[in-house]
């Protein structure tokens, strides 16, 4: 017999009341000397014996009524599974690349299997990986063998991992189960970076216990190669690479490979000081001519070979044309000023006026004048976009502009300021453009305030930011042809002080860069594993030229992509090729464990499960209870017993 809501069984304690009433009922305190009991004896025996029987019967009936009521509310149902306590295990796996060190991964896997060795067929097991974000690779289920098979085939990734979000997610999931024993089994190396920022004072849900492995033995040799910076020199290439040593000083050998060659183009013995960063400046010969080249910088292997290799790319870049229409009024040209201010940054752009002939499709058009949307200019704009061109449009509210946008399926809705003005909110921070803006400080996304604006239909664009009420303030669309970024506000100071604010120039620069299809920051800041990379809007093929996934077949991609392994990647589209260097996140290379005790033990709540949380009822239990509605029988029996109790109790007191 199982109970759907066993908490109601506390109500059975109410049987103490009739028992107390029975034990402490009013008894005669006075003794009367009576001439004879012969006539009482005639009535009393049945009076006394039957009354005593009735009293016990009434007591039984009262206890039964109360118990049955409590049982009915507790919703009993017949057990469909085997007896014993049910367990639920959530294995939280630190799949960061630091687990690639030595035998850490296999040892932890063996340890985890030992922890769940006693799991029975009705017990639930789930696997949750930490990186790149907490994800159930095997949701909590009774398919134990399937989960173990996944665990056996799982390998550590190339990302860094944070323990707390995954532990909280696993804790919440376990708390929602109906298992009697809920355990989080931690599959990790207690690396300091994985525990950094964890709020150890905030316990997991009550009733969830934690099982942590011991801190692994420290690594004897560990150094990491950081992302190299490749620059073209008149004599060839210059490679600047930093090597961070996390262990004792030692001598290592540094190799540089070019374009996937197996033979190094450079070899150097270096001396790494203890726990310091050593920077190497390497001049390489020019090698074969070409528009691009990529380099692999590696050390001889240590205890964690994953970060002993880093990748760099050099790519020849010309000046990209940016077509800028005239400012709509005679005031200052803030957009032009912004483009001029960032002219020295890669990718280099050449600002050109809107031509009277067809616009080159490789250009980016920056439009803010109503004249650009009327007459022949509008036709050229449409043709330009359909030909694959990209555009950044600041909506000024001109009739031709709004008409052209409506023709393109973008019916703009004017907005007027209310109170403190129209402030942008709900930024799409995972968008490459927005992520680039917020990469250094999220404050660049604050206080975008306008006196007037136009709301873009959210169903026609991908919103990058929203207006306070409804509609997108900044949206991206490829529905017209090429990639178009539309800002529902003007680029001059008629509607806002925004063009004079510090975030204006970076926004214009990054928007143009984004539309040009170049990674923000150029080759000087190679991407990291897990970071989204902006790709040209056209669909192309993405493949790894070097790195762990070099043997993987090309995949179709476009827009953005987030590589999950380091290496050099090539994106081929429309007869063009672009190279991307992706390296490991640097913090993960430090193998130092958490040094301040074992605070993760505090995550286990000391609150009692039953008192602190309502039991969560699994659907299977509800279904089983519905198939055997014993509560109805409990209620019916209680009603019958209650009627009997009333009848007998009345006769007892008569």
């Amino acid at each position: 017999m199982l109970w759907l809501y066993p908490g109601f069984l506390i109500g059975t304690a109410a049987v103490a009341l009739p028992i107390l009433l029975h034990l402490f009922r009013r008894r005669p305190k006075r003794t009367v000397l009576f001439p004879t009991l012969r006539f009482l004896a005639a009535a009393a025996p049945q009076n006394d014996r039957s009354k005593r029987l009735r009293r016990w019967l009434v007591l039984f009936l009262r206890c039964a009524v109360l118990s049955l009521f409590a049982a009915a509310f507790a919703r009993p149902f017949l057990a469909t599974s085997k007896g014993g306590q049910r367990q639920a295990f959530a294995v939280v796996i630190d799949n960061s690349f630091s687990l690639r060190a030595g035998r850490r991964w296999t040892d932890l896997r063996t340890w985890v299997r030992d922890q769940i060795r006693d799991a029975k067929s009705e017990d639930t097991i789930g696997l949750l990986v930490m990186a790149p974000k907490p994800t159930w690779i095997a949701p909590l289920s009774t398919r134990r063998d399937s989960a173990l098979a996944i665990l056996d085939t799982l390998a550590p990734g190339w990302d860094t991992a944070q323990a707390e979000p995954a532990l909280r997610l696993a804790g919440d999931a376990l708390a929602a189960t109906a298992a009697d024993r809920r355990s989080i089994v931690y599959f990790g190396d207690h690396q300091r970076v994985s525990w950094a920022g964890c709020d150890f004072g905030k316990p997991l849900p009550p009733g969830v216990r934690t099982v942590f492995p011991d801190v692994p033995a420290p690594l004897a040799r560990q150094a990491a190669v950081r992302a190299p910076v490749i620059t073209r020199t008149p004599t060839g290439f210059h490679v600047a690479v930093a090597i961070e040593n996390f262990t004792a000083a030692e001598n290592r050998t540094l190799y540089v490979y070019r374009d996937g060659a197996t033979a190094p183009v450079w070899r150097q013995d270096i001396s790494l000081p203890e726990r310091e960063i050593q920077t190497c400046q390497i001049d390489l010969p020019p090698g074969p001519e070409g528009v691009s080249a990529y380099f692999t910088v590696s050390l001889d292997e240590d205890d964690l070979p994953a970060d002993d290799r880093a990748y760099g790319v050099w790519q020849a870049s010309g000046e990209h044309p940016v077509l800028l229409d005239p400012t709509p009024d005679s005031g200052s040209d803030y957009v032009g000023a912004a483009l001029a201010a960032t002219a020295g940054l890669k990718p280099y752009v050449q600002v050109l006026p809107i031509p009277a002939s067809a616009w080159p499709p490789s250009a980016v058009a920056v439009l803010r004048n109503d004249a650009s949307f009327s007459g022949a200019a509008a036709e050229r704009l449409t043709a330009f976009l359909r030909g694959g061109g990209s555009a950044l449009i600041f909506v000024g509210g001109g009739s031709a502009e709004l008409r052209w946008l409506e023709t393109a399926g973008l019916k703009m809705r004017p907005l007027e300021e209310e109170g403190d003005g129209l402030e942008l909110r709900d930024w799409a921070v995972d968008h490459p453009l927005v992520a680039g803006l917020a990469s250094h400080s999220a404050s660049t996304l604050l206080d975008w305030r306008f006196r007037r604006g136009w709301a873009l239909p959210t169903d026609a664009v991908e919103p990058l930011a929203l207006w306070p009420e409804t509609g997108a303030a900044i949206g991206e669309t490829t529905g017209i042809g090429g990639r178009v970024l539309i800002c529902g506000f003007g680029s001059d100071r008629r509607d806002s002080d925004w063009p004079a604010r510090e975030m204006f120039v970076p926004f214009v620069h990054r928007a143009v860069t984004y539309l040009l299809g170049s990674p923000t920051g150029g080759t000087a800041t190679p991407a990291q594993v897990g970071q989204p990379l902006p790709l040209p809007a056209e669909t192309g093929f993405w493949r790894a030229l070097a790195g762990p996934t070099a043997a993987a077949p090309p995949v179709q991609a476009g827009g953005t992509i987030a590589p999950n392994a380091p290496g050099v990647y090539e994106f081929s589209y429309g007869g063009q090729k672009k190279l991307f260097a992706v390296n490991l996140p640097p913090g993960e290379s430090d193998p130092a464990p958490w040094s301040d005790g074992k605070p993760w033990r505090n995550l286990e709540s000391t609150a009692h499960m039953a008192s602190a949380s309502l039991p969560r009822v699994p659907v299977s239990a509800i279904q089983a209870e519905q198939h055997s509605p014993l509560w109805w029988w409990c209620l019916a029996s209680a009603a019958v017993f209650l009627a009997a109790e009333l009848a007998i109790a009345n006769r007892t007191t008569r």
Binding site: R27, F34, P35, T36, L40, A42, N47, K51
Partner: protein, 332 residues
Amino acid sequence: MSDAGKAAAEEPAWSAVTYPMRPVQPTLARHAGARPTPSRLDMSELAALGSLPLRARRLADAVGPGRHRSRRKGASVEFADYRDYQPGDDLRRVDWRLYGRTDRVQIRDAHEETPLRVLLLLDVSASMIYSSRPGLLTKLDMARSVLGALALLVRRQRDACGIGLLTDNLLRYLPPGGSPARLRAVWGTLDTPILATPTALASALEQAVAVAPPACLFIIASDFYEDPAALDAVVRRMRFERHDALALQVIDPQEEDFDFSRPVEFADSEAPARLQIDPVAAARAYRSAFAAHRHALTEVFRGSGFDHLALRTDSSPLAALAAYLARRAGRA
């Protein structure tokens, strides 16, 4: 309006302690030939009278002087009837004057003046020592008072009076006698302190019947907590031996009404038995059983031509005295 009616009209309503004399049972009234004069008797006053002789005299005075006439015929001065001479008759009883006038030899019969032998039997068992509330006589005291008054009445009528105390046997016995000293002896016996003993009334009555002189009037004051069947045997023996009997069943009002309101523990006055019951719940059954017992007693005594009278200790006992007088008149 009669004098009694006027007195009733002038009297205030009955108080809790003032009771009218109960009417005599019709059968007894027929024998008496006249209703006793209604009188008032204050039961609290009676209870306040400490000694038995005082109570007895108060009661006897309340019922008035009793008179009776013997219905036996014999050698007496009062003419009764003539009958033919038969051989063996005492020639001194022949009415020679009648013979001289009519030549018939007739025997002159006269009413025989015979003294009545009254044997008072008092149940002194423990169950008689019961009074349900202060101010009421115990059943024993009530019985003593009534029997004492009856002894006085008997003495005033120059009848013989005896006494017997009944427990589980005949505890003490004084045969009927007519001397003035006997009255004091009877009162002294009635006033004898007693030990609480259980009752075996039928057995004790058997002993009394066995030692009593012929043709006695047994006046039995008891609560009659005895098996009616056992009593029936001894009552039939009384009848067989030409005794007369008047049964006075002394009852405390609580014994009859049984109006206890709260649960109490009842202890038997004659046995170690105790009983915890809800008296409210048991009252109906108790009253029914008590009434059945009383009815059975009545049947037992009336079945033998005797009288059975219930005396409540909260009611006037004059009915008992009147019943005696009626019985005496019937015997005369």
